[in-house]
């Protein structure tokens, strides 16, 4: 008899077991010191080695069971439980390790990160093909995030170097987060205001299709650093020539060039999807709609918006995620944002500061991406669900 094996779950479990043999965390005396690695079984406190091992073996076993609802539910619960266990180990051991040292701190090491990867695979794997509706699926997907944020707010992660870096920069963190959101969301807003009409124009005026897409495609091929650099000279010049603009904050470095560059980057997905949204409406559908006596407004309400809007929004979704990433780079030209921490950390040789900048950027991308995915799925009529990619 051959055993059927669900590969994703099996893979996650095997990676998780492997992770237990790698250094779980690093103990550092201060923020730039090289750390001392601790293996999981050598941790001074926390769940015993046998606990995660048993859990992973049980998960591995579920991979060989037929996909019944009970097995599915077990996979979902056990995957989350495994992640909670790893976080608990990090928190408990860290607290004991840093206690005797004045500037002591711990950083997660390869073992923990690999365990996090394993947890991600297990949780995503448990959701794959599962017959679960959107709100619940979304909740299960963000549960790990809620767990981490909750532990952080409850002071459970205070021994972590990255949390200490955060504690020292709390005020700046909030303002940089605000700047980051401001730059990326404003850029996407601007790109939507420009890109959607551009896409519509390219659709309505066929002879403009090539120049429009040639233009936005070309913008996309310029590396982001180069585009930021290119903005500096002309904007500095403009700012010198027009004092009024200087008053408004336009200069060669800072927000203005970042906004412009990120807006330009965000254009392609938005323009392309605005075009694709309209292209998805067959001409016969418009013709029959008019022929049945729809007014201009009814045609939009019953035909154009339901078909084109979800596709257009997918473009906005791609652009937003992209813009959040690009904004991190914009810190290089003094625009601020979470990228500032990353470059500061690079400068100071403090890897935990880099992580402190990177983690919220990832969290932001994931949250906004998921949020927009939910919005798009709600706005997509039942007959068009096939256009959804996830």
């Amino acid at each position: 008899m051959r055993l059927a094996c669900e590969k994703t779950t099996a893979l996650g479990a095997v990676i998780g077991i492997g992770a237990l043999s790698l250094p779980f965390l690093l103990m550092k005396e201060n923020r730039v010191a090289l750390g001392v690695p601790y293996l999981y079984h050598a941790l001074p406190r926390g769940p015993h080695m046998l606990l995660p091992l048993t859990l992973l073996l049980v998960i591995l076993a579920t991979a060989f069971f037929p996909e019944r609802p009970a097995v599915r539910a077990a996979k979902i619960v056990l995957g989350q439980l495994y992640l909670a266990l790893m976080l608990a180990a990090l928190s408990l051991a860290g607290a004991v390790l840093v206690a005797p040292e004045a500037f002591g701190r711990v950083s997660p090491s390869s073992g923990f990160w690999l365990a996090a990867v394993a947890a991600y695979i297990l949780i995503q794997g448990s959701l794959k093909n599962a017959p679960i509706g959107y709100p619940l699926r979304f909740l299960i997907g963000v549960a790990p995030l809620i767990l981490v944020v909750g532990m952080f707010l409850g002071g459970w992660l205070d021994s972590l170097a990255v949390v200490m870096e955060f504690a020292n920069r709390q005020d700046r963190f909030m303002s940089e987060l605000a700047t980051h959101l401001y730059i990326s969301l404003t850029a996407v807003g601007l790109a939507t205001l420009i890109g959607v009409p551009l896409g519509v124009l390219a659709w309505k005026q066929r002879h403009l299709e090539k120049p429009v897409f040639g233009g936005v495609n070309a913008l996309q091929t310029i590396p982001s650093l180069a585009l930021f650099g290119l903005m500096i000279a002309p904007l500095a010049y403009v700012s010198r020539q027009f004092p009024l603009l200087r008053e408004l904050g336009v200069s060669g470095i800072g927000n203005a060039p970042a906004l412009i560059a990120i807006t330009l980057y965000a254009l392609l997905p938005i323009t392309r999807n605005a075009y694709a949204g309209l292209a998805a409406i067959e001409t016969g559908v418009i013709d029959s709609g008019r022929g049945m006596g729809m007014t201009r407004v009814e045609l939009m309400r019953y035909v154009e918006v339901p078909i084109a809007l979800p596709i257009m929004l997918s473009g906005v979704r791609v652009s937003t995620v992209q813009a959040i990433g690009n904004t991190a780079v914009a810190a290089l030209i003094g625009a601020g944002g979470l990228g500032a921490f990353v470059f500061q950390g690079l400068g100071q040789g403090a890897p935990d500061l880099i992580v402190m900048g990177v983690l919220p950027i990832i969290a932001l991308s994931v949250c906004i991406d998921r949020g927009l995915a939910v919005l798009i799925s709600v706005l997509t009529p039942p007959g068009r669900k096939d256009i959804l990619d996830d």
Binding site: V285, S288, G291, G293
Partner: protein, 364 residues
């Protein structure tokens, strides 16, 4: 009734419709046909103001359509196009309910109407009402398109090559269904096609167009039998005599058939003294008058009785003479039996009858 009065449509100097005057009778199927670019689709779209004429008037029951608000006019006219144009995000039921929805019917009434129409076009409501357009075959989608056009019970239907995208077999089925449907509903139908066979099969009237002008506006028999000029003659083709036979049903020249009950056979042959008609064909039927065999008499002798499969050999009263002819020639017979739906013998059509129709008046 739809009336065209000196209607002209110019597109930047190109005349698509050139001074057309026509009267399309109510309750009839009128087919616009002609080579591409002849203005047939433009003429159709002028009726529901999808296109506005450059000059001239189109009247719907006496009222110029230009006096009716375009949207209101269109809601009162069914519209079916080749690509069907079902809204991809709406179920079959919602699609059929669009015009009623625009007219402000409540949901219950719309749904009831959709179910009734699905029933009418031969798609089981329970199976089809919740399907999405991409789950339908080409023929089913086109049926739903017709149902949608009928939803608000408009007196007029405009159909622009509605069956053009369906495969030939499916097209014939759709044509037959539509024909019997409209016999019941008696809508005034304006039908555009470039397929002459379709025009002959469906049309009560055929308007043959060329370069924006009406070349001949006539009943199908006369379009085929009395082409007005060289263009019409060429358009209907060298096989127009054959095509013309499509205009006539078997019913129109059916004769009494000589038949004999199976039990009356003696040693597998008809007894002497049984009368046959000029074709020399004797049909053998069973106790329920169902056709089971045939035999022929020539030079004073009976041939052996042959068993026949009624459904393969026979035609029905609504079959075309073209159909009957093809069976006659295919079997090498002098007559084909005309059967009822349950294969009972009700008459026969003879080769000589078909020849007579072919030479009947009107044929030049």
């Amino acid at each position: 009734m739809i009336k065209f009065e000196h209607v002209v449509k110019d597109y930047n100097g190109v005349t698509a419709v050139d001074d057309i005057s026509l009267e399309l009778p109510a309750g009839k199927i009128c087919v616009f046909i002609g080579p591409s670019g002849c203005g047939k689709t433009t003429s159709l779209r002028l009726i529901n103001r999808m296109i506005e004429p450059s000059s001239g008037t189109i009247r719907l029951d006496g009222t110029p359509v230009s006096k009716i608000k375009a949207e209101e006019l269109r809601r009162g006219i069914g519209y079916v196009i080749q690509s069907v144009g079902l809204l991809p995000h709406m179920s079959v039921r919602e699609n059929i309910g669009i015009v009623p929805r625009l007219l402000g019917w409540d949901k219950q009434k719309r749904d009831d109407r959709a179910d009734a129409l699905l029933e009418l076009i031969g798609l089981a409501p329970a199976v089809y009402r919740d399907k999405l357009p991409h789950e339908l075959s080409g023929g089913e989608a086109q049926r739903v398109g017709v149902a949608r056009a009928l939803a608000a019970d408009p007196p007029v239907l405009l159909m622009d090559e509605p069956f053009g995208a369906v495969d030939p077999l499916g097209r014939e089925v759709l044509q037959r269904e539509f024909l019997s449907l409209n016999r019941e509903l008696k809508k005034t139908v304006v039908f555009v096609t470039h397929d002459l066979d379709e025009a002959i099969r469906l049309g009560d009237r055929i308007v043959l167009m060329r370069e924006g002008k009406v070349v001949q506006d006539d009943i199908p028999e006369r379009i085929l039998g009395a082409p007005r000029n060289e263009f019409v003659r060429e358009f209907v083709g060298a096989d127009r005599a054959l095509k013309r036979l499509s205009c006539f049903t078997v019913e129109s020249c059916m004769h009494h058939a000589a038949s004999l009950d199976l039990s009356a056979l003696e040693d597998g042959r008809p007894p002497e003294g049984v009368q046959v008609n000029g074709t020399g064909t004797l049909w053998i039927v069973d106790a329920g008058s169902v056709l089971v065999g045939m035999c022929r008499r020539s030079e004073g002798k009976w041939s052996d009785v042959r068993e026949v499969r009624a459904a393969e050999l026979g035609v029905n009263t609504l079959s075309s003479l073209r159909d009957a002819l093809s069976r006659l020639l295919g079997r090498g017979l002098k007559a084909v039996p005309v059967l009822s739906e349950d294969n009972r013998l009700i008459g026969e059509v003879r080769l000589t009858d078909i020849e007579a129709v072919n030479q009947s008046d009107g044929y030049v």
